[in-house]
């Protein structure tokens, strides 16, 4: 399967580290301790969606390769 498209909104990310703890191969903290996507294919989609759901500020958006929004729901 093609890798999902993942974006992190840096006006929302507060460096709570849920994503980097759950999926360290996908997310990494930058200098400002905000999350960046390093490799969207490095974890199963299920885990990426869990990371997005665990983000306390809903900063993570996940789309399928074809552009369907997988998180957040509606």
């Amino acid at each position: 399967m093609d890798a999902p498209r993942i974006t992190v909104d840096h006006t929302r990310c507060v460096g709570n580290a849920q994503c980097v703890t759950l999926a360290p191969a996908v997310f990494r903290h930058n200098e400002a301790v905000q999350s960046e996507v390093v490799d969207p294919s490095a974890a199963p989609l299920e885990l990426i969606l869990k990371a997005a759901r665990f983000c306390p500020t809903s900063a993570i958006r996940v789309e399928s390769a074809s552009g369907a929004v997988l998180f957040p729901a509606s």
């Binding site: 006006t11 929302r12 507060v14 460096g15 580290a17 849920q18 703890t21 665990f54 983000c55 306390p56």
Partner: protein, 405 residues
């Protein structure tokens, strides 16, 4: 200013923290307060830097703070004070990594934005019930009628407390509020409240450990069985969750209502579109007059900033009340503006300790401001004589009378 420059409890600093801490932000962003023996951080960038570097600044403050309580307490209550410190040092918010990651991991899922959104109908109904009770009278003290009871209803429900015990838990919650009071006798009701809460929760933890349900006590009981929380930590964190989500949410409701009423154009805008503006309004209320003014860290290494040396062991207080008004981060920061977006205020902190209950608090704020605007568009202050609790941490009104007839 007539008072001692460094008196953080001076009446004018309690009444208006924005002027005093705003001045520090502009003139001395890393200020050593000799009287209280701590650093004061007020700029937005510095605050973010500080809280995101948890490896330099520890959260285990209450346990290691040897200073006498301030405002002073009855001398014979020193033992009670130590007992309170012992309890509070087991709170999640006082833990450092690596243990914090595991503890937070055990409770985080219960509080995700998706999960908390499901509580909205319950919150809406609770707000409706509380307002139904006062609507015919034409006035209320927002604090007593709405802001104090609402969060207790929600949290006791999350704890799985049966309805018939709700009133008792509300009494205990009121005693826990003494954590933030200035009265010299405050340790007595506070410790009574904590002990009674623990006694109430203890048998329930045992029951839930054997028969888990979908409440928060079951989550903690499960974490104990997994070896993540000790029994004492389960009890403390259940008891103090009632506090963590009480005074804070209370202040959001009162301070937000006050800000709205003091800015008639913004109140009119919300009344014109309560459903559409409730979210933005809640964020701006959080930014403009934050429920928590400041909180603490303790340096675990020597760190240099602004040409000054923060030494290992030094205490640091960071003021979201000042950072939220930093002109380097927000345009026209002293203006209360519901259309502000994005609004990256730091009222819930930042970094690994970012408020666990943030979404729940947001849902409560949104439902309250929406309901007030829908029901009482003519609402106005019934008194300009407002007073705040003498706290350095919380921005707590003592009452907020309003009328709508």
């Amino acid at each position: 200013m007539t008072h001692d420059q460094d008196d953080l409890f001076a009446p004018d600093v309690i009444a208006d923290p924005y002027r005093y801490f705003g001045q520090l932000r502009e003139t001395d962003p890393l200020h050593w307060n000799a009287r209280s023996q701590l650093w004061i951080v007020t700029r937005y960038d510095d605050l973010i830097w500080l809280v995101r570097h948890h490896e330099l600044f520890s959260s285990a403050v209450i346990g290691s703070d040897q200073r006498p309580p301030y405002p002073p307490i009855d001398p014979e209550d020193r033992g009670l004070f130590d007992e309170v410190r012992h309890f509070r040092s087991d709170q999640l918010v006082e833990q450092d990594r690596p243990h914090h990651t595991v503890m937070r991991g055990a409770v985080h899922e219960y509080f995700t934005p998706t999960a908390m959104e499901e509580w909205r109908p319950f919150v809406r109904a609770a707000v409706g019930e509380l307002l139904d009770a006062v609507q015919p009278t034409g006035w209320m003290d927002v604090l007593q009628a709405l802001a104090a009871p609402l969060p207790v209803r929600i949290i006791t429900r999350m704890m799985g407390v049966p309805n018939e015990d709700r009133e008792y838990l509300r009494e205990l919650a009121d005693k826990l509020l003494y954590i933030n009071r200035g009265e010299p006798y405050r340790m007595k009701p506070l410790m009574e409240g904590i002990r009674a809460m623990i006694a109430y929760v203890e048998p329930r933890v045992a029951t839930r450990a054997a028969h888990p349900e979908d409440d928060f006590i079951s989550v903690l009981a499960g974490a104990e069985q997994a070896g993540i929380f000790t029994r004492h930590q389960v009890l403390v964190n259940t008891a103090l969750l009632l506090f963590a989500g009480h005074e804070t949410t209370m202040n959001l409701i009162c301070n937000g209502t006050l800000a709205l009423l003091r800015h008639p154009d913004q109140w009119a805008a919300l009344c014109a579109d309560p459903e559409g503006l409730a979210r933005l309004a809640t964020e701006e209320c959080l930014r403009y007059d934050p429920p928590v003014k400041s909180t603490q860290r303790i340096a675990v290494a020597d760190v240099e900033r602004h040409g000054k040396l923060i030494k290992r062991g030094d205490r640091i207080r960071w003021f979201m009340a000042a950072a939220n008004r930093d002109p380097r981060a927000f345009s026209d920061p002293d203006r209360f503006d519901l259309s502000r977006s994005p609004n990256p205020h730091v009222s819930f902190g930042s970094g690994i300790h970012y408020c666990l209950g943030a979404t729940l608090a947001r849902v409560e704020g949104q439902e309250v401001f929406r309901a007030l605007a829908e029901r009482f568009p003519k609402m106005r202050l019934a008194s300009e004589d407002l007073e705040y609790q003498p706290s350095i941490q919380f921005r707590s009104l003592k009452s907020l009378p309003v009328t709508w007839t």
